[in-house]
């Protein structure tokens, strides 16, 4: 882009503009170069676009509050009405216990961590592999599919249902719930959409509360049971409201973001055939597959922007921010920063710092489900390239649409063609 075009983009652009939101890389690059802490007037937020500034924020969770950032973002513009609907019709308004600040956050986080260690996740791999293989086999002979609705969404919903101990026939409702919850931090819903989403969240909460009460009385081997019966080092459990918010967070966060990553996996296989060939030739090379997952997450991060709010005046990236400044951390921009990841648009499996992308965030709020997410993506990639080949887009790349949200970059539907292998 020319300097003039970049200046115009910064002067008039907003992450809420559907065109910029769908294809944001020029906007990110302009910010990183000319205005790294950019005030987005329409969004009412500062967009933090450089790697080092996001890293600074992640190391100071007291000055940069997730609690204030997240809960200010939630249902913004309709907040009171949203909360009243949940109070009145959804069994209660339950603030997100994990979207909090230390020291409260530390206790909640510790209770969640035990379920998600890389070694515990490894033990789940055979079961997840079976789910993946069954799903691919069910579409492999068709030669065409929508990678999102025929594969990514059913796969992640099935896995999270197994983890949480929910009923698999809830698939469609769970997808609607996921969209409704994530839309609350997406900043692109109008009032009518908010009302529809709020009703979905009421339905979600009633369903979860009933399940949690069942597990309270009759614990099983699943994460809902783990959470309702969890005790910290002092023997203290979670309040029911905290537990509802955490089960809700696990269901949604473990679903929407991983489904987005799996959609991106198909997008990369369809648009970078040399990568697809490499994976086919190396599907059982675990090191290469691990590196592939990291580079996929770096180059197409599912979560691109999450919020913080300053709790005091602070210097950041050469700018003085007042207390109460609402920030959007643009992970997708940081992942594209040339002096951290040279030739950032190259899909390069040999990067020495391949794990330093910000797609899982960082600091005390780093994604708690990251090992499970990595494993799901790796198993999916491995089994897909073994079973189908010649994957190509069945629509023009320019016609790919994304969900309307600043928080994630999620492909809405991805029609593909392919041939069966083996």
């Amino acid at each position: 882009m020319t300097n003039v075009a970049e200046r115009d983009l910064l002067a008039t652009g907003s992450m809420t503009d559907p065109l910029i939101s769908a294809r944001p890389r020029d906007f990110y690059a302009a910010m990183r170069r000319d205005d790294p802490i950019h005030w987005d007037e329409k969004l009412g937020m500062y967009l933090v676009s450089r790697y080092e500034d996001i890293a600074t924020i992640q190391q100071d969770p007291i000055t940069f509050s997730v609690n204030k950032g997240y809960h200010t973002q939630q249902a913004k513009g309709f907040q009171q009405e949203f909360q009243e609907i949940l109070e009145r019709e959804g069994g209660g308004y339950f603030p997100d216990a994990i979207m909090s600040d230390p020291p409260y956050h530390t206790r909640i986080r510790k209770l969640m961590e035990k379920a998600f260690t890389a070694h515990r996740v490894k033990a789940l791999e055979p079961r997840i592999e079976k789910v993946v293989v069954d799903l691919i086999d069910s579409v492999a002979a068709r030669g065409e599919a929508d990678a999102i609705h025929d594969f990514a969404v059913p796969l992640t919903v099935r896995i999270i249902c197994e983890q949480l101990g929910l009923d698999w026939d809830m698939k469609d409702r769970i997808q609607r719930w996921s969209i409704a919850v994530t839309a609350q931090i997406g900043r692109m819903q109008d009032r009518e959409q908010m009302l529809g989403h709020a009703r979905e969240i009421c339905d979600l909460q009633h369903y979860l509360i009933a399940k949690m009460k069942e597990r309270q009385a009759d614990p099983r081997e699943d994460m809902i049971s783990d959470l309702v019966h969890a005790r910290d080092a002092d023997g203290e459990g979670l309040s029911f409201a905290e537990a509802v918010s955490l089960v809700r967070a696990l269901l949604i966060a473990g679903n929407e973001t991983t489904a987005t990553a799996l959609g991106n996996l198909f997008y990369i296989l369809a648009t970078r055939p040399e990568i697809a060939t490499l994976l086919q030739d190396s599907a059982d090379d675990d090191r290469l597959m691990n590196r592939f997952v990291e580079e996929l997450l770096r180059i197409e991060p599912p979560v691109r922007g999450l919020s913080r709010m300053t709790t005091k005046e602070v210097e950041l990236g050469g700018r003085t921010l007042p207390a109460g400044a609402h920030l959007l951390l643009m992970y997708a921009s940081a992942n594209d920063q040339e002096d951290v990841f040279p030739q950032p648009r190259d899909f390069d499996l040999n990067r020495p710092n391949i794990g330093r992308h910000l797609s899982f965030g960082g600091g005390v709020h780093r994604c708690v489900g990251l090992a499970l997410a990595r494993m799901e993506i790796k198993v999916a990639a491995r089994e897909i390239v073994k079973r189908i080949g010649n994957i190509e887009l069945a629509i023009d790349e320019a016609d790919i649409r994304y969900l309307p949200t600043v928080a994630t970059q999620s492909i809405e539907r991805l029609p593909i063609r392919f041939t069966r292998r083996g």
């Binding site: 190391q59 986080r109 510790k110 961590e113 998600f116 260690t117 890389a118 070694h119 490894k122 675990d286 090191r287 691990n290 590196r291 990291e294 020495p352 710092n353 391949i354 794990g355 330093r356 899982f360 960082g362 600091g363 005390v364 780093r366 708690v368 990251l370 090992a371 990595r374």
Partner: protein, 106 residues
């Protein structure tokens, strides 16, 4: 009681005593506020922010990473070396009394 020497990211050397019971090298570092040990993931072997270089004299006793830990070390190959480990994956046993590690620059 196990005594461990940490050289933190600022080059400052500190000797600290291990607590009683089952403890990881990462937990000992966190309990003593060793600079450069962030341990974002809380010991889940999932983030490589508790990376240390084991003193050559101790590499044999701390042992080799398993495949899950190796995958994490490989993702930070810009700073990890053949003697690097994730502190969260090292259990402090009596055999490690006197261990010396250098916290990786990240």
């Amino acid at each position: 009681m196990v005594q461990v020497t940490f050289v933190d990211v600022n080059g400052v050397e500190r000797q600290v005593d291990g607590g009683s019971g089952d403890q990881s090298l990462m937990e000992l570092a966190k309990a003593n506020g060793i600079d450069g040990i962030a341990a974002d993931c809380g010991g889940a072997c999932s983030c490589a922010t508790c990376l240390v270089h084991i003193d050559p004299d101790w590499v044999e006793r701390t042992g080799q990473p398993d495949d899950i830990e190796f995958a994490m070390l490989d993702m930070v190959a810009d700073v990890a070396t053949a003697s690097s480990r994730l502190a969260c994956q090292i259990r402090l046993t009596d055999a490690l009394d006197g261990l010396r590690v250098v916290v990786a620059q990240q």
